[in-house]
Symmetry: none
Subunit: 224 residues, 2 copies
DNA sequence: GACACCTTTGACGCGTTCTTGACGGCCGCT
DNA sequence: AGCGGCCGTCAAGAACGCGTCAAAGGTGTC
């Protein structure tokens, strides 16, 4: 989750930003003045800072420079002042963007997206561990004792459904529907076939599976 | 020297921007419409693009997307329209900043500095090594055993998508969408054709690729 | 207008994957 | 004990996808 630090001394604006950003999937922290902002930045290490100028305790450029010493996270400045000199000062101090109030919330969100897009895609993908095997669903990569294991498309789909419901029982019908389509209900032999292949490739002892379990008469279950 | 491409159909504005940017030490190229812009971008490989919307021949978003396929250079959009919807569309298409006319030239220069500051230090050497081959995505240059290798535009786009997701599997659908457009879903023969060409040019043994791998039925993967 | 280059399109052989059927073992039920 | 249901395993042919070659269509250059 992308972490955003909102710095604003006006509670209404801070609240509005928190609500909107949270609604779009960001993790929001707020600070009401410069000192709080620098402390909060050190604590949460945000991926982006939305900074209102005109804070009660510090000058805007000071806050920007204080942040720039720590972090390379984009800084998006809000301000009531439209004067060019202020914008230039803020941008040259290290801000990445400057928006004057009153601002359109949609536009602000678009600018937030533009700013995070640049620095964003350096993230690692989540990896699921199955005993000696690691599965990276995003990269579509399986490793067993370090070397890679190749799965066929059908094997991937089946494994993905199970892994996305860790610990839960997935019925045969649901597995068939998700992998082969809604017209498949009773082809349980497909499941037997491919579960066996998955176990051969992923389980330490395919005859005695520990993670890819059969629930007789019901379905299959992935145990982490 | 930092190279800036200025795209504007109004000669006075283009001239004013050229003079001001040149005076501040930038190397300026100008283009008067979208087609020229894309051609010029391919030729000079700019470090930043200043793009006026409302070009005579193409929609603004088209130009942005055309540029984004090639390059990660920041795009600073100029526009006479202050409507939020347009700003949002441009930013989400891949623009980095949006300035409404009339604009203060000092502020514009500050935004140019802010944009180049970000990509400047990090974009020093984005060179990817593929065995005996080195690929410089920013400079758009490939060398194999020291000699230059020529890639066609389509080959570049395909290679770029793969290189920007190192280790990750990229589905054939995504590759088709990113290189040929959202209307292409099943033309996997294009992928076969161009992957073969890339392998001929980049792999030591094109018949046994080590870095540009096929995942049958799913997609392709670049392994560093 | 001829030429070169790139893109698009079609066809074929081959290896892999999917589908399908059959068999035997384990378990619970009668 | 006998039986039927369910699962794991094995072994086939069919179908699919990939790499490759070849050639036509399109565009800009000389």
């Amino acid at each position: 989750m992308i972490k955003v630090l909102v710095v604003d001394d006006e509670p209404q604006i801070a609240r509005a930003l928190r609500i909107n950003l949270s609604a779009h999937g960001y993790e929001v922290t707020t600070a009401a003045d410069g000192a709080q902002a620098l402390r909060a930045a050190a604590a949460v290490v945000p991926d982006l800072v939305v900074l209102d100028l005109g804070l009660p305790d510090m000058d805007g450029a000071e806050v920007i420079e204080g942040l720039r010493g720590w972090s390379k996270a984009p800084i998006l400045v809000l301000s009531g002042r439209a004067a060019s000199a202020e914008k230039i000062a803020a941008l040259d101090a290290g801000a990445d963007d400057y928006v004057t109030k009153p601002f359109d919330i949609g536009e602000l969100l678009a600018r937030v997206r533009a700013a995070t897009r640049r620095s964003g895609p350096g993230a690692e993908s989540p990896v699921t561990a199955i005993g000696p095997v690691t599965v990276d669903l995003a990269a579509r990569e399986v490793r067993k004792d370090g070397d890679e294991v190749r799965l066929t498309p059908t094997e991937w789909q089946l494994l993905e459904v199970l892994l996305r419901n860790p610990g839960k029982l997935v019925s045969q019908r649901e597995l068939l529907h998700r992998v082969w389509g809604p017209n498949y209900d009773r082809e349980t032999n497909y499941l037997r076939q491919y579960m066996a292949q998955l176990r051969r490739k992923l389980e330490a002892d395919p005859a005695r599976p520990v993670h890819l379990l059969t629930e007789p008469g019901m379905g299959y279950r992935f145990r982490p």
